[in-house]
Assembly symmetry: C2
């Protein structure tokens, strides 16, 4: 017979952290950034307010970490290797894969609601926006820069192209359609964006 | 000696309407969409609350009209012919002109603050977003569709391209950089977006 185990404190705090993230994302999606409070997050997560303040200095900090955690887990679920853009040697196929996965994420209500709330807050508040870009967006965009540079070395992208501008031809249209809800975000749309950006709109000689 | 003129009521109400628009745009840029009230707009414009409610059913309606008025005047100032994309026969030059003007507008604080407040509200609230798209955005995007269709007929855009998707390669990157404040919005950037979208990123054979 084995001894009964003492509760593992690191496992318990991992459980609390996850409950706090879920409560934070749920609340911000339901009532918006402005009306989400540390008190409400603590109540929904079933922890004391002190637990949250022991780990994060502010509501902004816990919401940012919750969202980073969501984005990281989504990237991990998307495939082995974690949050990278694959390099199979076929740039078109690799970008279609990434843009289709982005479309799927934008269409997922569990992502859509908190992502809208946090993006809207960043649109209005420059300091929140800067943190959002620094901690979440810039590392994601860097993956495109790396992949496009590799494509340039492989001869699949013109040498004169600036990868940091070029990547906006992929992520810009998706953001436009998602944030402004103009038309449905589909895989066919993602494929067309990749094809138009790679081949251009002007006829080829 | 001429008779002293009676005050012109239509001119007086035009003055009130303009004062209400200016107050509405100023307030929404300063305190945000949620905290802007009809009372505060009336007080700043120097009119009675009843004057506003005689012309508009709600805060949302007056803010939308104020913003439409701002956008229309900006388009009129941009050049004769009003809010159209020119067709000089040179698609690249015409699009550079429009994208540079868009960049200038986004960099103008008088546009930036209310535009951010209204866009953020539309990002969160689907009904506001839908009105924004229907009344303001869709007519603007239609101008791109028309210009790209003319370019297809002139042989400057491949016949297989869907203009409604293609236009997002121009407006998407600008929205991304403006809303998320990633990097400066310059004329050189606008020109690069036009060139990349027209020529594509892949090498031409």
């Amino acid at each position: 017979m084995t001894e009964p185990k003492a509760p593992d404190p690191s496992r318990r705090s991992e459980r609390s952290r996850r409950a706090i993230y879920e409560a934070a994302l749920g609340l911000v999606g339901e009532v918006g950034y402005g009306r989400t409070t540390v008190e409400a997050i603590a109540a929904r997560a079933g922890v004391g307010k002190q637990t949250i303040y022991r780990w994060w200095p502010s509501k902004a900090a816990v919401l940012m970490d919750a969202f980073l955690d969501l984005a990281t887990r989504a990237a991990e679920e998307a495939g082995p290797g974690g949050p990278v853009i694959p390099d199979t040697g076929d740039l078109r196929a690799d970008l279609r894969l990434v843009l289709r996965a982005t479309v799927d994420q934008m269409n997922d209500p569990a992502y859509d609601a908190p992502a809208r709330a946090l993006t809207a807050e960043g649109v209005i508040d420059a300091a929140t926006g800067a943190r959002f870009v620094e901690r979440l967006l810039a590392p994601q965009l860097e993956l495109y820069t790396v992949r496009l540079r590799a494509a340039q070395q492989a001869g699949a992208v013109r040498p004169s192209v600036d990868p940091r501008i070029a990547l906006e031809l992929f992520v810009g249209p998706l953001l436009h359609r998602w944030l402004l809800r103009t038309l449905p975000l589909t895989h066919a749309y993602a494929d067309a964006v990749v094809d138009y950006a790679l081949d251009g709109l002007a006829p080829r000689p």
